[in-house]
Assembly symmetry: C2
Homo-oligomer: 172 residues x 2
């Protein structure tokens, strides 16, 4: 028998899960309206922009996303059609395939990043004081560590608002 959540825990859980779900919907709708990109598109662009030579094997890419491998294939096919990514055979392994960020894909990311950042600030970050920032960082870092499968220490689920801003001089 699992003990029910007490009143304060219930309040916490419902506020967290309901607001987080609403925030993800808001971020998705906002990004799509302003840039035509989905959050999944955006995450693939961020991950590839941070990879060496802006390219990753399909399996590596799947490891960076929350997606299943079949979902990654579907996602990349859609992005290839729109010119954001191209597929190439892996050097030295003809059966393997890599996803490579195109110049058009990089330009789309550079254009989208500040708009996404503004939404992230407006919806959550600008509302938090220093103590709240510290508690959220601590709690959700622990959560990420618990949820990360053993042996995949390098695996992340990137939603980096900041990375292209820091890495790409055009965004500085």
């Amino acid at each position: 028998m699992v003990e029910p959540l007490d009143e304060r825990q219930q309040e916490c859980w419902r506020a967290y899960i309901e607001s987080s779900w609403a925030l993800q919907t808001h971020l998705e709708e906002d990004l799509r309206a302003r840039t035509g990109l989905s959050m999944s598109d955006y995450h693939v662009l961020v991950v590839l922009s941070e990879a060496p030579s802006r390219r990753l094997r399909m399996g590596e890419l799947a490891g960076f996303m929350v997606f299943s491998p079949s979902r990654v294939t579907y996602q990349i096919t859609s992005m290839v059609k729109r010119g954001l990514v191209r597929r190439e055979s892996c050097p030295g392994d003809r059966r393997g395939q890599e996803a490579v960020l195109t110049d058009e894909g990089m330009a789309a990311l550079v254009a989208a990043a500040p708009l996404h950042l503004a939404t992230v600030r407006d919806s959550l970050m600008d509302d938090l004081d220093d103590a709240e920032v510290a508690v959220l960082a601590r709690v959700f870092t622990r959560l990420g560590t618990r949820l990360r499968p053993a042996g995949t220490g390098a695996r992340r689920h990137p939603c980096a608002t900041d990375r292209p801003l820091r890495r790409d001089p055009h965004l500085a």
Copy 2:
């Protein structure tokens, strides 16, 4: 020009968004493996179980979910096929339709709720101390209020782990 997040804010945002995304994926996979229900199924069951006479107009149901109305229609059609919900004409309004929780749907919720609660405890809630519970409740209640469209004060996005446990004597 939007100011980039500082280092502590970046750490907070990435930990929060990446871990929350991973948690939602984990909750979804876990629920599906243990009960055959998706999180969307579960939420519809919870919302209907809390409604008067366990029934809601399709439009009202959409207001409780993060879904678009078209997505709600698709979701309910799938649940009708599985016997969890039935569709009925609204009394006094033949053009309107209501979704009604079936006994089978209520039984599925009663069976799933304690399993879902255990996962919620294991993955997040049992890890939080009292001060963290208070901060998360405060931050995400504010977030929910900001994201809620004006004039929809009663609208919620229910993910109630606790409700069926408290309301249904079979779960007490």
